[in-house]
């Protein structure tokens, strides 16, 4: 009798064991993973082979969506071109400017904290609020930029309203948010041991040598991570084309100049009710992002320096 009792106390019921409790604790993420990751990954490919207007059941149509995309749809090549140009303009420039800003703000000088705050400020603003503001800033006749240019007697371009300048104007807004890169680089730089710089000083290195021989290698893991996340984000940019170049409810700019792929997906699905076709474009976007990520990873071994723990 007594013996049995101690056994019960020692051997916990299954719901008291760590194995069970652990899974109970991570249940929210398990469900989230199933719904937002596993399920879309499994069905995404299937849906890209269907036609669905949101009302009647989805219909399997084979490769029709893909054939239409690559041969007939006039907007698709423009979307691809705009997307690549946008990524190529914004990602490298935000990385470089972010790094330069961080280097300049990593000094002990008067008002440096205030400056960091000011450069970070655009990042804090709601994306919608900032983008709609920029739309007015770019206004050809009464916007801030052209009014400023007018002081010097320059007649500014039509910015977002012209096919030639719309995408560049949009990229400038994205670079305006460089503060998010800056703040991450700053904290990365602050974790670099000052001994390295002191040793370099003893050897008589100048600040440019120190930047390329110490700062860049020590920061390479952070740069690498920011490059990857920057690429993934830029390839999926939706708010800028929707809000900056939206006139009377239609985004994408003059003659599809800012018709980024993510916006195209939204447009096909939620304005055109072609969910299956939109899903096919999602698959293309997904493959593009995967290829770019893979390339960056492939080259990372050569350039990224990981400090060893021992």
């Amino acid at each position: 009798m007594n013996n049995k009792k101690t056994k019960v106390v020692q051997k916990r019921r299954f719901w008291q064991r760590d194995g069970f409790i652990g899974y109970m604790f991570i249940l929210p993420s398990l469900i989230g993973f199933a719904i937002f990751v596993a399920y879309p990954l499994v069905v995404a490919i299937f849906y890209s082979f269907t036609e669905w207007d949101g009302l009647s059941p989805a219909k399997f149509v084979g490769l029709k969506n893909y054939i239409y995309m690559f041969t007939t749809d006039p907007s698709f090549p423009k979307a691809i071109k705009a997307t690549f140009l946008y990524v190529l303009m914004t990602v490298p420039l935000t990385l470089v400017f972010g790094l330069l800003l961080a280097v300049m703000l990593n000094h002990n000088m008067f008002s440096v904290k205030m400056l960091r705050t000011l450069f970070y400020l655009p990042v804090v603003l709601p994306s919608v609020a900032a983008l709609v503001l920029w739309k007015f800033v770019y206004d050809p006749s009464y916007g801030l930029i052209n009014q400023l240019l007018a002081i010097f007697g320059i007649k500014g371009p039509k910015w977002l309203q012209s096919e030639d300048t719309a995408l560049v104007s949009m990229a400038i807004v994205s670079i305006w948010g460089v503060g998010s890169m800056m703040i991450i680089f700053l904290s990365g730089m602050q974790s670099i041991s000052s001994e390295l710089y002191e040793a370099a000083d003893v050897d008589g290195a100048n600040s440019i040598q120190k930047f390329f021989r110490i700062t860049i290698p020590m920061m390479s893991p952070v740069l690498f991570l920011q490059l990857i996340t920057g690429l993934i984000t830029a390839f999926q940019a939706f708010n800028p084309p929707q809000l900056l170049t939206n006139y009377s409810g239609v985004g994408g700019g003059p003659n599809y100049a800012t018709y980024l792929l993510a916006y195209s997906i939204y447009d096909k699905a939620f304005n055109g009710f072609k969910y299956g076709y939109a899903m096919a474009q999602v698959m293309v976007l997904f493959v593009i992002i995967m290829i770019f990520t893979a390339i960056v990873f492939r080259f990372s071994n050569a350039y990224v320096y990981y400090e060893s723990n021992d």
Partner: protein
């Protein structure tokens, strides 16, 4: 002696040049915002005059009530606040539990799930857009707040990771003491861990509040009825009106920005530190 002096002088001049350059640059960057503030106080005709009146001669405060009325600000403000608060609560609860389990509870498959959750951050979010939209359509949840709030209760991988990393840094002896007293995992989490990870939780509260306040795509596809709209939708649609009056628009946009700006200035420390230390710690 003189070498040190000249070095000091050189550094002083360097800082002065750098400082002035950065101040001019930051002023240029913030020009749009300053312009917005002045425009919000001008009359519409003085915005449209050439050359413009840079500093308003008379303040038109009535732009604010009139602009806010044009987007029916107050009910949409309440909608946005409701969604944001629910999302914050959801993230804090779920990410704490999951983060704790991944850091402290020994269960089979712990490592695998951790890598899967972290890896899922790399998945382009566009992939889920339409399948998840179809799911909510099938559940007849369009035009409700469920699609906006439920995901928060399922925990964002990013915040979970943040909490997990933070808990990993706490010595195990802290919870062992509680374990000897017979505390279970729930009690250890709430009584021992939570007080210590407060900075991480506050970071999550701020980041998630901001994210919900700014969220645009999900409200856009899920909320059809104007009464349910969030402020982001209201402000965005106001900006596309053909005959929008700029001064009132700027006033509205400014008010929409204000909560996040206030939050930023009050809790700056968490913005500047939390984010940075997170990305660097994740690599080691």
């Amino acid at each position: 002696m003189s070498v040190i002096k000249s070095k000091k002088k050189k550094r002083f001049i360097g800082n002065l040049l750098r400082g002035s350059f950065l101040w001019i640059l930051s002023f240029a960057m913030l020009m749009p915002l300053l312009w917005m503030v002045t425009a919000a106080l001008k009359s519409n005709s003085s915005i449209m005059s050439i050359p413009p009146e840079w500093i308003p001669k008379e303040f038109h405060w009535e732009n604010f009530p009139e602009g806010l009325a044009a987007v029916s600000f107050f009910p949409r403000f309440l909608n946005t606040v409701f969604i944001s608060i629910m999302c914050v609560i959801g993230q804090v609860i779920s990410c704490s539990f999951v983060g704790y389990a991944l850091a402290r509870i020994r269960f089979p498959g712990r490592k695998i799930w951790f890598y899967l959750f972290v890896g899922s951050m790399m998945l382009p979010s566009m992939v889920g857009l339409i399948p998840v939209y179809r799911l909510w359509t099938a559940l007849k949840a369009l035009n409700t707040y469920w699609p906006l709030i439920v995901p928060a209760f399922l925990g964002s991988p990013f915040y979970t990771f943040l909490i997990r990393q933070f808990i990993m840094g706490i010595p195990r002896s802290f919870d062992d003491a509680a374990k000897i007293d017979g505390a279970g995992h729930v009690r250890i989490l709430f009584q021992v861990i939570m007080p210590i990870i407060k900075p991480a939780v506050i970071t999550i509260v701020i980041m998630q509040f901001q994210a919900s306040w700014n969220e645009y795509l999900s409200p856009l596809i899920y909320l059809i009825d104007g009464k349910k709209w969030t402020l982001s939708l209201a402000v965005a649609s106001y900006s596309t009106l053909y005959a929008v009056e700029w001064n009132k628009f700027m006033a509205t946009d400014l008010v929409y920005m204000l909560p996040t700006l206030i939050l930023f200035f009050v809790a700056q420390k968490y913005f500047m530190q939390g984010l940075g230390s997170l990305t660097t710690s994740g690599l080691k």
